[in-house]
Subunit: 242 residues, 4 copies
Amino acid sequence: MKNFQNNIMSPSRYDQLKKEALKANLQLPILGLVLYTFGNVSAADRDAGVFAIKPSGVPYSELTEEKMVIVDFNGQVIEGDLRPSSDTKTHAVLYKHWENIRGICHTHSTYATSWAQAQMDIPIFGTTHADHTAGDVPCAPPMNDEMIQGDYEYETGFQIINCLKEKSMDYQNLEMVLVGNHAPFTWGDSAEKAVYNSAVLENIAHLAWLTSMINPEAPRLKESLVQKHYQRKHGKDSYYGQ
Amino acid sequence: MKNFQNNIMSPSRYDQLKKEALKANLQLPILGLVLYTFGNVSAADRDAGVFAIKPSGVPYSELTEEKMVIVDFNGQVIEGDLRPSSDTKTHAVLYKHWENIRGICHTHSTYATSWAQAQMDIPIFGTTHADHTAGDVPCAPPMNDEMIQGDYEYETGFQIINCLKEKSMDYQNLEMVLVGNHAPFTWGDSAEKAVYNSAVLENIAHLAWLTSMINPEAPRLKESLVQKHYQRKHGKDSYYGQ
Amino acid sequence: MKNFQNNIMSPSRYDQLKKEALKANLQLPILGLVLYTFGNVSAADRDAGVFAIKPSGVPYSELTEEKMVIVDFNGQVIEGDLRPSSDTKTHAVLYKHWENIRGICHTHSTYATSWAQAQMDIPIFGTTHADHTAGDVPCAPPMNDEMIQGDYEYETGFQIINCLKEKSMDYQNLEMVLVGNHAPFTWGDSAEKAVYNSAVLENIAHLAWLTSMINPEAPRLKESLVQKHYQRKHGKDSYYGQ
Amino acid sequence: MKNFQNNIMSPSRYDQLKKEALKANLQLPILGLVLYTFGNVSAADRDAGVFAIKPSGVPYSELTEEKMVIVDFNGQVIEGDLRPSSDTKTHAVLYKHWENIRGICHTHSTYATSWAQAQMDIPIFGTTHADHTAGDVPCAPPMNDEMIQGDYEYETGFQIINCLKEKSMDYQNLEMVLVGNHAPFTWGDSAEKAVYNSAVLENIAHLAWLTSMINPEAPRLKESLVQKHYQRKHGKDSYYGQ
């Protein structure tokens, strides 16, 4: 009897995490960030050392809590009947190396993806951008052919980590990046925050494109304004929100 | 008993104002002018010397009349449990110095914000623009570092006032401005009119961008057409509307 | 008794026309062609020598059949409690001079208005355009100051008529025009067709802008394709539709 | 009695095919790929040697299963009261020559049509593109005047087939093409897949335009990434989806 109960109970261990991942994934079509299945969100439980992620190629309208896949930080499936997102190893690498993140979001949103395809950083032109991060959003360069032909999605994780390292940026201050030729990845302390960052990044990318079309000589935001707006929303003296 | 009744009654003094502010704020997502909480509207009662404004960082879907914050024209909170919008002091300065306005709206709407980031005035290219104001929509330059590091939102109010002064414009004829690197502010004789002006400004900004993309040599509207259209909707001989 | 009946009956004379005008006006926000009240449609009864038009400045959500205004081809109000659209005289002039049209539509739709502001004809780049008209969509030049300061809306009608005359175009083959610095006007054998033409014009204007952005050297459609597509939908050998 | 039953039964032979064609056609307005009736989808039954296609000029809101027209691979109507799409012969030619396709979709979607009007191939700039095809999306050149004045829609089919031949591309690896000056055609192993390809093509066309606006010198995706992404979704070692 107890065994039977355990069997019934065992899936419940990750129910909350699957629920969180489902809810965050369902935000993507509502926010206009995905076409068909071109995106995925994961939610991590750091104590358990696992994350729940969207199954590969399943339409958002057919997603359920039960279809979420539980994967560990080495990319091994722990629970679930479906194959996890093809980008799962990228998520695993980021969770393993960045110990304070609890959510990752990947989309092919229109404006952010176009900057990634153009292989250009998104310049910090205004306060909307500075409210969220204190510098350009970097675009990681394409990998070399060996890495591409090797463990591609695993290497994509390191491509992101190395991009931040080279720019001396902390993943806790910069929660978004473009993978050159591919598309954006964002993260945060929850799956919900990672999705929020994807929507903000798409907005920033749209504004930056229009700004550079209106005025190709538009200067970057000056440092005093960058710091004012970033500190208004972050850090010990922030005074935005409740 | 009377005291108790007074307690119950006291919030009602500003109920109408809060209702007006709530209704105007809820128009922003409907009109597509905001992402998440990137915008705020206030409604002023000039006799009482106060305005009702959106609380900071609260999603539009969770806004209620009760959550609106009552603030005086010096920026002091008079009533409300929540922290008011981080842009509250900008609103206060404008109400204090412009005695005929009863509503202010601030958004990060896409096209208007991009002109602000480009640090360029929006040229008056057509009659849609002239129906609402008789000249370019000015872009106030960034503040100096001292002002930014000082009382930033308070100084933003003066930046707007000084921008109109320098261009010899009357806030009753020009109800919209861009704050360089930041985003637009609009106003009017009601919160509803301020929101209307934000939607119109976004439309004007979109048309002006497309116009200059189609024809980089597009001339400004000639003065006779500017005056014809502005006077059709404003002034003693107007004949638009009922 | 008879008089009373007559009184009750008299409005019914134009009921059908008002209904047609209302229905056509309500299509404008659905098709995304208007912001607030920036547009108007009329429906004409040529035998009665009148047209029904939107009242000035009334939001689409508040429009009713009863609020439509009946006007004759000289621009005189025949029936209705509200002031007709400020563009009424332009409609009247077109109905008076073009004896086979039964509907006119005026909007400030985004792409068509931007071409008008740029004071440029819309080049015929593809078959979507040729399906509807066999040449560029012309942009009428701005009027001289005397005409603007005179009977402006009346002169706008002649500006449109003269634009087609100068280009030797027949209003029955070209049912759309841009008024320079202002916005588009379209027409047809019904109010519904006039609205259809406004939606098609906005689409053509969008495609033409994108085409010239992708390839500034894009050639116009060659004459054999223009004729093939235009004749497919129009004229005695047309084979499109039922 | 038997004859009567046969009469009643005979339409049922193609009921499933009509249902598939109806469902696919109704996706076009939902996906934002058509204005009015500017598009059509067909679904083929290769064993029966016929396809079901949208009737010409009928609004999507009025489409029913019964209105679908059954046509053979020579373009002859087999069943149906309405005239089939004016593009029917183009569909027939493709079905006749490409024996593994079961669905064709034609739209005038905004971005893809603009590339067609610009007479330019869509460059492969990113992985969103490579996930679906391993090279540029080609733009077939305009036909010569004799072909245009002859059996135009029939020749359009050959224009598409020849375009792929000249680029040595297999219709099973490249399921989308632009017809110069006109608009896109897509296909696949079902009508649903053909519609999917039209939505993906519009997305790719949008991204490619933005990419070239952001960086006119943007390089094409390198071959190792093209192969990685194309093989991830296609071929024997694919690991995308379930």
